[in-house]
């Protein structure tokens, strides 16, 4: 007997896995980026099933919205074309695809065999913004402040790295040709 929860889990999971496989199959980075957005939206659905409504909203706004827009922006800025096939990529496909299948099967086998059949109840966890915010500003206040410093450093690092003249001598950045 399939419950609604299980059906929704399988639907979102199928979308997520299909998007992840599509990311691997596509040769053009913009197609990969769009399928990654599909994966993130499906994962937001899974978070909703688990009762984490705040995280589902943040997943859509921050991940699928902000971070992926940054990716798409850089792809278009650099005019990234279709990926070239090299000797290295053929060797990587030779080892990468069997490695993925082996890793997935091993993980699935171990988890299904050893983790029992306890169920995760739908929406049983109070994942509302109020509770998350209370936890964030009481128990996890120090990590929260440290991540704000991390964000500040990341902003400055991104500005410094992406600016036009980044060579230490003060002159224009040199082109490296081989």
């Amino acid at each position: 007997m399939l419950s609604v929860h299980l059906i929704l889990f399988l639907a979102f999971g199928a979308v997520a896995v299909a998007g992840a496989v599509n990311l691997l199959v596509q040769r053009h980075p913009i197609n990969s980026a769009l399928s990654l957005i599909a994966v993130m939206a499906a994962l937001a659905g899974e978070y909703l099933l688990l009762g984490a409504e705040f995280l589902a909203a943040v997943q859509v706004i921050v991940y699928a919205g902000a971070i992926m827009v940054l990716f798409v922006f850089v792809i278009m800025l650099l005019n990234a074309g279709v990926e070239e096939q090299t000797k290295g990529s053929r060797v990587a496909i030779l080892f990468g695809i069997p490695g993925m299948l082996l890793g997935s099967l091993l993980t699935a086998w171990v988890l299904l065999r050893h983790s029992g059949t306890e169920s995760v109840p739908a929406g049983a966890l109070p994942g509302s913004p109020t509770e998350i915010g209370w936890l964030l500003f009481h128990d996890y206040l120090l990590p929260f402040e440290i991540t704000s410093i991390l964000i500040l450093i990341a902003i400055m690092g991104a500005v410094v790295l992406a600016s036009k003249h980044t060579s230490p001598g003060g002159g224009p950045a040199q082109k490296v040709k081989d």
Binding site: S3, H5, L6, F9, G13, A16, V17, A20, V21, L23, L24, P29, A33, L36, V39, E46, Y47, L50, G51, A52, Q59, V62, Y63, L70, F71, V74, I75, L78, E83, Q85, S89, A92, I93, G96, I97, G99, M100, G103, T107, A108, S115, T117, E118, S119, V120, L125, P126, G127, I132, L135, L136, Y140, P143, A154, G157, L161, T166, A173, Q174, K175
Partner: protein
């Protein structure tokens, strides 16, 4: 009711896809997106464990992972811009200045 192991298997599959993309892709932007896919797979297992053990700590950790991923994306894409500006390629096989 969905068993916890189903969520973990889905998370494992996403992580494995991310590792594979990291290995087989030659475009530096796609490799970076594979890293984001791995982070998403780990986030799902965090949320599943949080729901299983009835604690919100897992969700707070996912929040921190998202913050770190945002910082990483900003810096990483700036590095990609700098690499493209000096090497004029996005193919990781051609970025081989440190190779003997």
């Amino acid at each position: 009711m969905v068993p916890l192991s189903y969520y973990l298997v889905l998370s494992g599959i996403l992580f494995a896809c991310g590792v594979t993309g990291f290995l087989i892709k030659r475009n530096i932007i796609t490799i970076f997106m594979s890293i984001e896919l791995m982070l998403n797979g780990v986030n799902l297992s965090f949320v599943a464990f949080a729901a299983h053990w009835h604690t919100l700590a897992g969700q707070v950790f996912v929040f921190f992972v998202m913050v770190v991923a945002a910082a990483e994306a900003a810096v990483g894409l700036a590095i990609i811009l700098a690499v493209y500006r000096t090497r004029e390629t996005l193919n990781v096989d051609q970025v081989n200045l440190l190779k003997l």
